[in-house]
């Protein structure tokens, strides 16, 4: 039986996230949480593996007490059990600390895994770092942003789109992948599964001491980064009228907006024009 681990994160429901523009902060306390979308895709990939082969799915999340909800949802969808890393001293962990703590938990609680699946990034911070960092901590072969996976014996074959190239990679178990939003459209949770997830769902809540982490370890191996400020990027609309002959208009257009056009089409048009 394959042993799969899916790492999940609860993120604020974006449409409900109140934004304090002056203070430059998100009022996370006012928003309710949801499972990060890419994590749902990772879970769906795991569920499809489980349907095709025999597999056991362990869902892990780190977060405040309310984050238990994503584990219940995962169990409702078909995960077999959950681990909830929950301790006040984990608050404010950056991606480095998070992946370090996840790695410690995995080594202690389920060292015999075959494949770890993570979402490719989270909607609230978008760093895409936890998956690859977790692979480093566990010294695993890994591929990020995968859109398809196949299992051949102990070999995992994955496909991903990187820099407009489609790559196919192979690695041996145990391995780690981060799953993109391209495929593995998440299924809906059935009501029967949701009820059962609360009724009989098996979730272990572990605090820092349970996984051998103390405050000084957090201070030494904890977060290396600090968020200084969050700001909302604003797009301004401006209407500009170009006049003259067609040749003048095109010339003006290109010279004024060359860099923006190059960026948008992914090609250096100044170089092209010089070549001509």
């Amino acid at each position: 039986m394959l042993k799969l681990i899916v790492c999940l994160k609860q993120v604020p429901i974006v449409t409900e996230l109140p934004w304090d523009e002056q203070a430059g902060t998100l009022r996370r306390d006012l928003a309710s949480g949801m499972m990060n979308l890419a994590c749902l895709h990772a879970l769906e990939a795991a569920l499809q593996i489980k349907e095709q082969y025999s597999a056991d799915i362990l869902a892990i999340t780190m977060g405040p007490p309310a984050a238990e909800e994503v584990l219940r949802e995962a169990i409702a969808l078909g995960a077999d059990r959950g681990i909830h890393l929950c301790d006040r001293i984990f608050a404010g962990s950056d991606t480095y600390a998070t992946s370090w703590m996840l790695a410690r938990t995995i080594k202690q609680e389920c060292p015999d895994y075959d494949l770890i699946l993570c979402g490719s990034y989270t909607s609230d911070s978008e760093t895409a770092q936890v998956g690859p960092q977790l692979a480093e901590e566990l010294d695993l072969p890994a591929a990020a942003y995968i859109e398809k996976l196949e299992i051949h014996g102990r070999t995992l074959r994955v496909r991903r789109l990187v820099d407009n190239f489609r790559e196919t990679l192979e690695m041996e178990f145990p391995a780690l992948v981060t799953v993109s939003l391209e495929n593995y459209k998440p299924r809906y949770a059935g009501l029967s599964g949701l009820e059962a997830a609360f009724d009989t769902g098996n979730i272990d809540r572990l605090n820092a001491a349970d996984v051998g982490i103390n405050k000084s370890a957090i201070e030494t191996d904890g977060s290396r980064t600090k968020v200084r400020k969050v700001f909302l990027r604003k797009a301004n609309k401006e209407n500009i009228l170009l006049t003259g002959t067609a040749a003048n208009v095109v010339g003006d257009f290109l010279s004024k907006y060359e860099s923006k056009i190059s960026w948008a089409i992914g090609k250096d048009i100044e170089e092209d024009r010089n070549d001509e």
């Binding site: 309710s32 009501l191 029967s192 009820e195 009724d199």
Partner: protein, 383 residues
Amino acid sequence: MQLNPSMKHELIRKSVRHFAETELAPIAAEIDRDAVFPRSIIDKMRALNYFGLQVPREFGGAALDTISTAIVVEELSRVCAAVGLCVTVHNGVAVYPVLRFGTREQKQQYLSRLANGEMIGAFSLTEANAGSDAGSVETTAVKINDDYVLNGTKIFVTNGGICDLALIFALVDPEGARPANGVFIAESGFPGFVRGEVENLCGMRANPVSSLFLEDCRVPEKNILGKKGDGLKIGLVTLDNGRIGIAAQALGLAQGALEAAVKYAKERHQFKKPISSQQTIQNYLADMFTEVAAARLLLYRACALKDEGVRFGTEAAMAKLYCSKVATGVTSLAVQIHGGYGYSKEYDVERYFRDAKVTEIYEGTSEIQRMVIARAVLSEMRL
């Protein structure tokens, strides 16, 4: 007293909301306009246990508590009340009485198929001369050999156009010494079970509400629900439960209309500022928000009483009366806030406004709810 929703209830709400916004929102206006029952989406709902909300797991149901059930109906109705209606009538007044009063054989024969949505149920009491006056049904059931032969016309049957099974209220042995009210489980495939045209109604247009004609319809004797004379009792107990569902539906409509009104009030500019900055609009929104919150508490209290296994009939009537009143009031104000656009089919509030009215009419009119409540006030408050 626990007044905050539990994690389970919140997750069920989020889950149903996600389904409704993804699957129902894109088609809600269209199926209302064309009066089309959305079969493909109903198929998806079958697989997710929407048709076995409170049915025990042994029959393939979701075994939800009543608050969860109300949340499911509320969230579906927040987006598309006609689909919410299909679900609440099936679960609340077709499945529930089979679960509550059915024999072991009836449960084995029907519950699993109802719970997995293979069969959609209907509740068929109302006739031309019987509705609020439930004891006056004129449909007859006469015993011939091992069957009862039913004759009569039922009207305004929710799910009537697509139901696979209907609970028919009839007068048993009308010419006999002791005529009595009875309830019969009639499959749509039984000979003499004839559907009428789908009604052309003001709202809930995606639900195929129709007449049913019973023309020498033969129903096996084993399909009597409860005992022969239990019809009125089964009807009243079932309607107590059904009222929770209609209250939830009304609440969902009010919530949907409130959200649409808030969004529009922030977007719509007049006098160079959003209309939400006008005190009049703020007063409207404050009242709507308050009424919706109060309606929700009243409804969940009725649900909690039912889950505790104590009498909940009066509370269900209060919830139904109040939620439906809030629904008609809030949807009307939502149209008002939208101005001319609110009167246009381009905006959802026009549909919400039409849909809301019937929540004051079906499964016991507001006048009947007041009768039920008044009876409780006068008997319980011995001053």
